[in-house]
C-alpha cells in the first residue's frame, strides 16, 4: 500500500510541476525480484491515489525480468527466485543486476 501511495505522490507532484489538471496514466517499472506483487499494487493504487490529481489514473505496470551475474564464473543468467544459482557453475549468491528496481518511468497528463 505504501508503495502505491509513493507512486501516487510522485505522479501528483509531477502533475503539479507540469501545470497539469490530472494524471491519465502512470507507467511504472517493477522488478520481479523487488518483492512487490503487481496484482497487489494494482489493487491498492486506486485507493492510494484518491484525493489528488492522480485520482482515477490508470497504473501501467511493466515487470522487469530478474538478471544476475555469477560471482565465481561471471556467467549472466536469469535467477529463479528465491535461489540465485548460477546454471553454469552452480555457485550460489550471484549478484543481482536487474529485477530489483521500482521506478516511475513516465506519465501521461492533461
Amino acid at each position: 500500500m505504501s508503495i502505491a501511495m509513493n507512486i501516487a505522490d510522485i505522479a501528483s507532484g509531477h502533475a503539479r510541476d507540469n501545470g497539469a489538471a490530472r494524471v491519465v496514466r502512470v507507467f511504472v517499472d517493477i522488478g520481479e525480484l523487488s518483492g512487490v506483487e503487481a496484482d497487489a499494487l494494482a489493487f491498492c493504487y486506486p485507493a492510494a491515489s484518491l484525493g489528488g490529481p492522480a485520482e482515477g489514473s490508470e497504473l501501467v505496470i511493466n515487470r522487469i525480468a530478474g538478471k544476475a551475474v555469477c560471482g565465481d564464473c561471471g556467467a549472466e543468467f536469469k535467477p529463479a527466485d528465491p535461489l540465485v544459482v548460477c546454471p553454469a557453475c552452480q555457485a550460489f549468491g550471484g549478484r543481482i543486476v536487474s529485477g530489483d528496481e521500482m521506478y516511475v518511468r513516465k506519465m501521461e497528463i492533461e
Partner: protein, 218 residues
C-alpha cells in the same frame, strides 16, 4: 480543450525515503553510532532479545532504542525497564517503519551516550526489506518455532540482511526445526550472511552475538 502529453519521470519510487535515510545514516556515522534495524515475523522474540542484549551490553556500550509497532507502547515500556533511552514510533496502518518515521523518532530520542542504536521494526518479513531506514545493517531474527524454510519464502529480507539470529534455541528439543537446513537455505540466499544461534531466555549463545555487536563499534 486540454492536450494529453507524456512526461518523463524516471524517479525511484522510494527516492524520498532513501534520501531521508541517507541523511540519517550520515548523522549517525558522524556521531560514531552503529545502528541495527531488527526485523522478523511477529513473535520471533525481537523485544526479548533486545532486553537481554541491553543487559549484557551494560558497561560495555551505550544503547538507545527506537521501537516500531503498529499500535501500543507495550514494547517501549519493556525496554524502559532496562533504563536505556527509548522512543516508541507507531506506524498506524503501515506494516513497516520508513525513514521519515525513524527520523522523527530520532529527534525525540536522548541518545547522547549511545553508541549502538537498535531500531526494532514492525514484525513483518516482506515490506521492511524494501525500506532503508538509514541503518548500518539489517539483522533478521527467525525463531525455532517457525518454519526453517522462511529464508526461501521471504528471500528478499534474508538477501538484504547482514546477519541472521536464530532465536529460542532452548525450545529445540520440543520442535522439529532443523537448524542446519535453515542455515543452509539462508546461506544459499545470501552467502555473506553472519549466523547466530541463541536463547535470550537461557543466555545460551548470547556471547557470540554480544561480541559481534561490540566489534561493530570499533
Amino acid at each position: 480543450m486540454t492536450q494529453k502529453r507524456i512526461v518523463e519521470v524516471r524517479q525511484n519510487i522510494l527516492s524520498e525515503n532513501d534520501a531521508i535515510a541517507a541523511e540519517t545514516r550520515a548523522a549517525l556515522e558522524k556521531d560514531g553510532v552503529v545502528s541495527i534495524n531488527l526485523t522478523s515475523s511477529p513473535g520471533s522474540g525481537k523485544t526479548t532479545l533486545l532486553v537481554k542484549t541491553i543487559e549484557e551490553l551494560k558497561g560495555r556500550a551505550g544503547v538507545a532504542v527506537i521501537e516500531g509497532d503498529q499500535q501500543t507502547d507495550n514494547d517501549a515500556r519493556k525496554i524502559e525497564t532496562t533504563g536505556v533511552p527509548v522512543v516508541q514510533v507507531n506506524t498506524g496502518s503501515a506494516c513497516h517503519l520508513d525513514a521519515r518515521m525513524v527520523r522523527g523518532g530520532l529527534a525525540r530520542l536522548e541518545r547522547d551516550s549511545a553508541r549502538i542504536l537498535f531500531i526494532e521494526n514492525v514484525g513483518n518479513l516482506v515490506c521492511p526489506a524494501s525500506y532503508d531506514l538509514g541503518e548500518t545493517m539489517k539483522v533478521v531474527l527467525l525463531s525455532v518455532t517457525e518454519g526453517e524454510d522462511k529464508p526461501l519464502k521471504y528471500p528478499k529480507m534474508f538477501r538484504v540482511s547482514s546477519a541472521m539470529v536464530i532465536t529460542k534455541t532452548d525450545l529445540l528439543p520440543h520442535v522439529d526445526f532443523d537448524v542446519g537446513r535453515c542455515v543452509d537455505y539462508a546461506l544459499k540466499i545470501n552467502p555473506q550472511l553472519k549466523v547466530f544461534r541463541l536463547s535470550a531466555r537461557t543466555g545460551d549463545g548470547m556471547d557470540g552475538w554480544i561480541d559481534h555487536l561490540i566489534s561493530l563499534n570499533h
